[in-house]
Amino acid sequence: MSEAREYKYIGQRSIRPDGFDKVTGRANYGADMTLPGMIWGKILRSPHAHAKIKNIDTSKAEALSGVLAVATYQDFPTADKKADLARNILADDKVLYHGHAILGIAATTSAIAERALDLVDIDYEVLKPVMDIRDAMAADAPLLHEDMITEGYAEAPTTASNVATRLEMKMGDVEAGFKEADVIVEGDYYTPTVHQGYIEPHACVVRYDEDGQSMIWCCTQGHFDVRGSTANILGMNLSKLKVIASEIGGGFGGKTTIYLEPVALVLSRKSGRPVKMVMDRDEVFKASGPGSATRNWVKIGAKNDGTITAMQAKLHYEAGAFKGSPMMMGCMTAFTPYAVENMYVEGFDVVVNKPKVAAYRAPGAPQAEYAAEMVVNEIAEKIGMDPIELRLKNAAKEGTQTIYGPKFKAVGLVECLEAAKNSPHYKAALKENQGRGLAAGFWFNIGGQSSVTLNMNPDGTGTIVEGSPDIGGSRASMQLMAAEEMQMPAENFRPIVADTEHVAFSAGTGGSRTTFATGMAVIEAAQDVIRQMKERAAAVWNVTAEQVDWADGVAINTAGEDRLTAAEICKGAERTGGQISGRGNINARGAGPSFAVHLCDVEVDRDTGKVDVIRYTAIQDAGKAIHPSYVEGQLQGGAVQGIGWALNEEYVYGDDGLLQNPGFLDYRVPLASDLPMIDSIVVEVPNAFHPFGVRGVGESGIIPPLAACAYAVSQAIDAPIRDLPCSPPSVLKVIQENS
């Protein structure tokens, strides 16, 4: 199918249609909206990591001139009160992390609202915080939730603990597999709490009208999800709530949930005024959802010829204050790049006094695959085999049974490994104090619901109305896919992200699904338009629609010489049955997994432990790259977030459970000056379930850098790395311990 197809539009590096607004400052993001009469809301946050709230007195704050409303947990109707989401948005009777929201105050200016926060008196009973998986799982650990019984055991435990869920996945017989092995390597690996680090803080502007009709303008990866969650917490019906997705300044999974919106709506209802709420950067770090810290143990056995015989892991993921880490996806991804019969993975979802984690690019996968890839590299070293050859020998391919259920269709891991092997990077020599690391990464990608309407204009151009917030240039891809399907120039199509009232439900932008699923909906809508165009042309020519062909944007009468362009058909649409619009409302299936392989060279200063990435290559299977530049951008961006995770990023908490680095000064994301160019190689093994062969590309790229960087460091210093980040103090310590 798609392999043979020649494309006219997709694969072009077109200028993104939303680009002009973004390079001129016109594009409106979450905090850029203003409404007449608007006032400002601010959140009071917990100064403690773990405490009971004994009493809240807001009288002095409410008495301050300019303060118009206060919202607390008591303002959420009873409907879904005990839900974790509601209790994360505003604490009930207990605060569970430093920065946990307690109440909101709205005032005529943000300065007055901030001053009012200082006037609230809260009586706390401070409790001992639980800040690490080991402490949380200790027998005498203080409990975050007194009633939490671990799920996932055949016999439920009788006492409460901080372990929310235990999960087990297996294939074959690992014990038998380890008996067959000539070499067995195992190790404990730690990854820290990290943040997505999107540059735009969470923000919303809301208005609650007298009749209960409400509007939310916010930056989100999924405005339909904002609508659903907010309506649920506030007991509203969905038709009462319109959500407009602003332009979004980065999300990486962190904007798939809500923090401010229900509070803002309560404040708006109580004050009768539109309310704007914008998080400060320290609020983003303290109280939005970071990625889980993990403690993972991995054991792998292999024969001397490189055949891996067994893979086993025990994974522990921090969920933050409420259950629900991506541990399960860690279990499903840890060993999935490998076609190995015997696998056993056990996972634990553990609550600690940190913010509730949120999705972060391939949620759960980087942590588990980090441990697995480090051990695979060590196996290669032990048996004296090239790490690419070892992976090629065991690589998952079409027909490989996955631990989570289905067998793979065509996947591109082997092609990525071959590309790595043939890259100039892999052949380049290294100097003293330099090291090279390689790692593979697997991510599922998802499909799901997308809705698109393609409204044709009387001049034959069209508006693509979609419901997927565009976070990295997806409108350019939608435009190219519509052009390809319609065989008409891309600039004839204007893609827009519509609000929840102007397009049917669409799942959020996440899971690398937008170009795949929403793209499929665009194609379906375009096909619907073509079908109608043919019918209209057939009606004009008095032939059947089957006798009409569509080529290069022109209807062709196969029974004669007649031609009608799209513009001519649309111009005459009023006389042939009214204007033409196509619809593609789908639940997309068949998302194709995307494999990635990364190569990283580092140089280490042995006197200080400082690591510099000196060369980097990211290789990934895109299925088919619709807009190659933005596909490369996903590979490069994912790689650099992963480099940050590997080298310097981490939440630092004191013994008191307070976050010590809630800012970009000490939460050290990579800078332009930290990096070399990131070479990217896009591999294309088409996904049979997408008309153009598309696989999602957004997430896999963040998986390999952790092990690629850390292994490169271990090679440079000739000593094993186990814990991330490879920050200078920790690398220097390993150097000193091993010299």
Partner: protein, 159 residues
């Protein structure tokens, strides 16, 4: 708390505004003058999203008080293009796909303009260090640096 009356120039046009003593230049630009192209990412000078020029000097507008704008010349992203013509830097950012979410883009473009004014022929390393204060979390900087270098070359050619 009396408001302060400030006379200034923004993107070459005379502007008068009243501000509270505690308002930053960023607050003034965004909330009082509705110039929301300048973004707030951190309010501590660590991300560069609010980059503007004050008397031709690149600064973070979150670390300048609005009152300090008295008599100054302010340059923001809204003044970079020439009517309906994009500046070369803007054009190169689009051609190289040097933006994904785009929220760091106004700051980066203002900073790049300052860079190329000071140093029309920067090395890649000089460009990377000059722009180190402009965080981008989406792109990994690769395409940004390529756009900057290409813009520099094009502008040198045109000069």
């Amino acid at each position: 708390m009396a408001k302060i009356h400030v006379n200034t120039s923004v993107n070459g046009e005379p502007v008068e505004f009243l501000c509270e003593p505690h308002e930053t230049l960023l607050d003034v630009l965004r909330n009082d003058l509705q110039l929301t192209g300048t973004k707030e990412g951190c309010a501590s000078g660590d991300c560069g999203a609010c980059s503007v020029t004050v008397n031709d000097r690149l600064v973070c507008s979150c670390l300048v008080l609005g009152a300090e704008a008295e008599g100054a010349e302010i340059g923001t992203i809204e003044g970079v293009s020439n009517k309906d013509q994009l500046h070369t830097i803007q054009q190169k950012f689009l051609e190289h796909a040097a933006l994904q979410c785009g929220v760091c883009t106004p700051g980066l473009i203002v900073s790049t303009q300052a860079l190329l004014k000071e140093n029309p022929d920067p090395t890649e390393e000089e460009a990377r260090y000059y722009l180190a204060g402009n965080l981008c979390r989406c792109t990994g900087y690769d395409k940004i640096i390529r756009a900057v270098m290409d813009a520099a070359e094009t502008m040198r050619g045109a000069a």
